[in-house]
């Protein structure tokens, strides 16, 4: 019971109810504009019949094709509290995966706070697995320590042997990831 459509600049004026969530990053305007300019198809918003914004996903395609690393990336995914437990995040992820399939990506990946168990479990249910741990990926704020991230991946159909998701044996540092 949702209208799924492309995210537009004007949505930036009314997506506060989603971004009030403490785990949802509010970036500066340039960050959103960059995604809208480069990967508009990867920025999708869900709208309720009453016009409230329910949630959104923002992503991109990146990586080298020759090294089999061309993939879709989830930069932000958030659903407002009152629209949770409806499978909306799963729906948005499905769309991002579909777009990445069409672009010929090998996999889809995302970063998530190790402590964000709710999200980690959801991604696992959606078929994602931890590919590697990135140490101190999230920098400290409000006096809390730096936090590690899981880099989670799901192979797309192009990666027939699912080579892209074989977990790395050791954690990596943020500067080692491309």
């Amino acid at each position: 019971m949702t209208t799924l459509r492309a995210f537009t600049c004007d949505d930036l004026f009314k997506f506060n109810n989603i971004n009030l969530d403490p785990l949802t990053e509010t970036y500066g305007i340039p960050f959103y504009l960059q995604y809208l300019a480069h990967w508009p198809e990867y920025f999708i918003v869900a709208e309720a019949p009453g016009g409230e914004l329910m949630g959104y996903i923002m992503g991109k395609a990146e990586g080298s094709v020759t090294r089999d690393e061309w993939h879709g990336h989830v930069t932000a995914l958030s659903v407002a509290p009152e629209f949770r437990r409806l499978g909306l995040a799963a729906k948005l992820m499905e769309m991002l995966e579909e777009i990445s399939e069409r672009k010929g990506g090998f996999f889809v990946d995302l970063f998530v706070r190790v402590s964000n168990q709710v999200a980690v479990n959801m991604y696992k249910q959606l078929g994602y697995s931890v590919y590697r741990t990135v140490l101190e990926y999230y920098s400290a704020s409000n006096g809390e320590p730096d936090e590690d991230a899981y880099d989670m991946r799901k192979a797309l159909s192009r990666d027939t042997e699912k080579k892209s998701i074989i977990p790395l044996p050791h954690p990596v540092r943020p500067e080692d990831i491309e």
Partner: protein
């Protein structure tokens, strides 16, 4: 900023250290290093530019500019110099100079793809669409790559969009763009999706929907693959424009079969259905119904389509979608609107909504889903509906307090939903005081009971029962507004504190309610992207006299808006590069929306006023302050006719019934309210600029420069600004007489009403009128101006009286204790702030008066000495002025004393000792006490800041002597 990668170039090696210093922010060393290099290599232009960057970044703009121009006139063609100059000009906010730079470069190196492309981007940065079109074409001629050709086409479209003359767009720019694309189509040179998108955009803007449809459905349309359902969405839009309802209907059907939860297609399905019914559409004798397949053109078909969707949904074992059920309710609504008896075939809304609740009542969105269909009920069904829903809420046996509680989170959510619906139906508002208090008790019980389910919740998660707490706070506010009982307010604030203590990341507990009463640090707030927070903060911090906090939030907003102005053009350029053509007009509209933001203008104006009130004539002279903010009295830089209200009021949760919700009238009224206040403030600001210019007229020697800085005020502008201020004040008075109340969860009233009632607007106007008369006196001299002098003397007297009246309105206890209860009277603080602001203005005006009267007095004394007269008569204007300055002195003393006594009594006040009616639990008392402490310390902070400012002002009184 890295040097470009021609490793062999020895110059690169030489420049490297300077780049490094600049990159590391070591500008001083960069300048030194550049100087060293320039001694050896005089012709290394880039070193000069890098030095200029260093100078620019250390605040030496003029030097930097001169140095840069030395290089620019040579029309450099080396990458290093060009790039460095581009960076410098961008930092100087002079993007137009970059275009000159590359115009020269392409003239000298006409075959350079790189320079042509830089030139194109430089034009894009300043929005020179026509030149972009030419630059794009020039590029394509050098290097026939498709993107360059389409950059040129897009620039034509931008000329069409920005043209004032719609006819010119439709008959020249767009057709030309269309022909350019058609040429490529004919030559079969179309390569990319972006090119097809652009073609589509052009046809759409030309209103050539049939042609657009052919493109989308034809071979070119096959390129539209990035966006999901791109072709379908485009076709749908065109069907609607073309009013091809049969196709619209058939396509919606198809898409709904694919995704029965996509609301937009239900709406289109119903819209098209009823158009077809009204047109008595009939299927063709043979062949397909439409290009998109089967069409539904009767109520019966629609009903059976809805029922089929539900049957399909019911057959699923899990994960039922809400779409089909809600669509059925929507169809009932539409059939009823058309008085179709068939509506009944779909069922009774009450029963259907009950079934919906049974299925989805444990989802938090159930309230938003059902809320929009509540108008399907007659008022007498409301109680029945709520009772029916309660049947489906599993609660335990009532406890001692008679409250039955849920056993798990699902039951809790169901109960919460019914409670929310009951509020939406107005049932809570209909309760009497006793009923409301009972309700609060019940809500609190549910809230506290529900906390047990969230014991393992992380700090970042909300508590399951948070909404009960918020709703109880809302009911307290209802009671407070109805009865004026302060205790309700304290309880509300205490309850919000309690909520915060269990759920620190729930922003709803933080704002906006407490702000109405007091200021508190907001570092805990989530950063909201478009300044709603700053908007509220500036509004309240300033009116409550917390100037530091107000400045801070103004600064935050201004930084945001300024960086937006700069950044947006970069993303417009990116959109060209990546071929996201449809985003370009969107970005430009977005930039305008932000630039015309009401809050931007407010922050600009208030920031300048604050600076003046806080600093001018205490830490630096008024004219310095005016000059440093480039304040020009003649110039009005606020786009009054296109001010945009960008506040996101949806962020505030409420479940009020429809007639108590925010509506368009409120929004309009609030915009008008804020705009009027802004107009008053902006006029006041410009008038202060006038007073400054009068007091310190630019001397002829450097008059040119001062005019450039905008402080030269013509007397005529004083007159005209004054009459504008007077008119605006009249409008404002009429406006506040309307007394429209906003819903509590809605826009906040501007400071206008309180400012008017404090008397400050009138008093400021009176004082700002004085300079006009003194100018006259300056010309007339003392000897033959008796009438004028009397007039001025009377103005002084009346001003003193007005100020005294204002001060009287500040007196009283900020926290009034009566019958063992305390009542916050923040309006007294607001009045005090207006008093102080007015005093600042009066002092600046008096300073000007002094500067006029002083030479008059001394020439009078000289005359007396010459004539050796022992005259005892002082001209009336001089004695009136002196009298006025001494009454100012006594006023300020009174005010300072009042502030001091308030500080003492506030500090001594033991709020916790007051009885807190109805609060027996000690824990609850603690929360209310926390709230009281916050109010108390907030008021103390306000008094301190106001007192400090007033003291500083009192110190300047000496300079008024003549």
């Amino acid at each position: 900023m890295a040097a470009r990668g021609h490793v062999q170039d020895p110059n690169d090696r030489r420049l490297r250290p300077i780049y490094d210093y600049l990159d590391n922010g070591n500008n001083k060393m960069a300048i030194q290093q550049a100087d060293k290099l320039l001694k050896k290599h005089k012709d290394l232009h880039c070193a000069k530019v890098l030095k200029a960057i260093g100078l620019q970044r250390t605040g030496k703009q003029d030097e930097a500019f001169t140095l840069a121009q030395e290089v620019a006139v040579l029309e450099p063609t080396d990458d290093n110099s060009l790039q460095a100059l581009t960076i410098l000009y961008r930092e100087m906010h002079r993007p137009e100079l970059v275009t000159k730079l590359y115009e020269a470069a392409v003239r000298k190196v006409p075959t350079s793809e790189e320079y042509h492309s830089h030139l194109f981007m430089a034009y894009a940065r300043v929005g020179e669409y026509k030149k972009m079109q030419q630059a794009g074409m020039a590029l394509y001629k050098i290097v026939p790559k498709n993107p360059y050709y389409f950059w040129s086409v897009m620039s034509l479209v931008m000329q069409a969009i920005s043209a004032q003359d719609e006819k010119l767009s439709q008959t020249m720019f767009l057709p030309l763009a269309e022909r350019m694309v058609e040429k490529m189509v004919k030559e079969e040179k179309i390569e990319a999706e972006a090119e097809v998108q652009l073609y589509f955009m052009i046809l759409e803007r030309l209103g050539k929907y049939v042609e657009a449809l052919e493109v989308v459905q034809g071979p070119l349309g096959e390129k539209l693959t990035s966006e999901l359902q791109s072709r379908e969405n485009k076709c749908m839009m065109l069907y609607r424009r073309l009013e091809r309802w049969a196709e619209c209907n058939a396509l919606s059907c198809k898409l709904l079969l694919k995704n029965p939860d996509d609301w937009q297609f239900y709406i289109l399905y119903f819209d098209s259905l009823f158009y077809l019914i009204d047109q008595s559409w009939a299927p063709p004798q043979e062949g397909a119904h439409s290009a998109e397949g089967e069409v539904h053109a009767s109520t019966a078909q629609a009903i059976s389509f809805m029922e089929d969707r539900i049957v399909t949904e019911e057959a699923k074992e899990s994960k039922h979608l809400r779409g089909p059920y809600l669509a059925r309710l929507e169809l009932i609504r539409r059939l009823r609107e058309r008085s179709c008896p068939e509506a009944q075939q779909l069922g009774e809304p009450l029963e259907l909504m009950f079934q919906f609740f049974v299925k989805f009542g444990d989802k938090p969105c159930c309230i938003t889903d059902l809320e929009i269909f509540l108008d399907l009920f007659t008022p007498d069904q409301h109680v029945q509906f709520i009772n029916r829903l309660m049947e489906a809420v599993p609660l335990g046996a009532p406890g001692e307090d008679g409250v039955a509680l849920p056993g798990d989170t699902r039951a809790l959510q169901r109960h919460l939903c019914v409670t929310q619906l009951s509020r939406s139906l107005g049932q809570q508002h209909a309760l009497n005081t006793e009923g409301k208090l009972g309700l609060i008790k019940e809500l609190k019980a549910h809230y506290r009971h529900g906390l047990q389910f969230g014991k393992s919740c992380l700090k970042t998660e909300l508590q399951f029962s948070d909404m009960y707490c918020l709703m109880a706070a809302h009911v307290y506010i209802d009671l407070w507004l109805e009865t004026g009982d302060q205790n309700m307010l304290w309880q509300c604030l205490g309850l919000l504190e309690e909520g915060l203590s269990h759920s620190s990341s729930n922003a709803q507990f933080n704002f906006p309610y407490p702000l109405y009463i007091y200021m508190f640090p907001i570092s805990s707030w989530r950063h909201l992207i478009l300044n709603f927070k700053e908007y509220l903060l500036t509004r309240y911090a300033e009116s409550l006299g917390q100037f530091a906090a107000a400045s801070q939030s103004c600064n935050f907003s201004l930084r945001f808006f300024h960086s937006n102005q700069k950044d947006t053009s970069e993303y417009i350029i990116q959109a060209y590069k990546y071929g996201a053509f449809e985003k370009i007009p969107e970005f430009i509209a977005f930039r305008n929306r932000l630039n015309h933001s009401l809050h931007f203008a407010q922050a600009r104006t208030e920031r300048m006023l604050l600076d003046l009130f806080l600093e001018a004539d205490t830490s630096s002279p008024l004219e310095e302050s005016v000059k440093s903010m480039s304040l020009c009295p003649e110039e009005d830089d606020i786009p009054w006719d296109s001010l945009r209200d960008n506040r996101d009021l949806t962020v505030l949760v409420s479940w009020n019934p429809k007639d108590r919700q925010l509506n368009e009238e409120h929004k309009q009224h609030s915009l008008e309210d804020d705009t009027l206040w802004l107009r008053l403030r902006s006029l006041t600001l410009r008038l202060i600029g006038c007073v400054s210019a009068l007091t310190h007229p630019p001397t002829s020697r450097n008059s040119e420069k001062t005019t450039e800085n905008g402080v030269a005020a013509k007397p005529s502008s004083l007159q005209s600004l004054l009459s504008q201020l007077e008119n605006t004040l009249n409008q404002a008075t009429q406006f506040t007489e309307k007394q429209l109340q906003y819903p509590f969860v809605g826009p906040v009233p501007s400071r206008l009403a309180q400012a008017l009632s404090s008397g400050c607007c009138q008093c400021q106007l009176s004082s700002l009128q004085l300079p006009l008369h003194l100018q006259e006196l300056e010309t007339a001299g003392l000897d033959e101006s008796t009438e004028l002098q009397t007039q001025i003397s009377n103005l002084f007297k009346s001003l003193a009286v007005q100020l005294q009246d204002m001060l009287e309105k500040c007196k009283g206890d900020l926290l009034e204790v009566k019958d063992d209860q305390s009542k916050p009277q923040q309006f007294l603080l607001e009045n005090l702030v207006y008093f102080v602001e007015t005093v600042c203005i009066v002092l600046w005006v008096s300073n000007y008066c002094g500067s006029v009267l002083r030479p008059l007095k001394s020439s009078l004394q000289k005359k007396k000495k010459k004539k050796k007269e022992v005259s005892t008569v002082t001209p009336p204007v001089l004695s009136a002025y002196q009298e006025f300055s001494s009454s100012l002195q006594s006023l300020l003393n009174q005010a300072l004393e009042h502030i001091k006594s308030q500080e003492i009594s506030l500090t001594a006040l033991k709020l916790g000792a007051l009885s807190l009616e109805g609060q027996t639990q000690s824990e609850v008392r603690t929360f209310t006490k926390t709230a009281m402490d916050k109010v108390q310390s907030s008021y103390l902070r306000s008094l301190q800041e106001i007192g400090e400012l007033l003291k500083k002002r009192a110190d300047t009184l000496k300079s008024l002597k003549i």
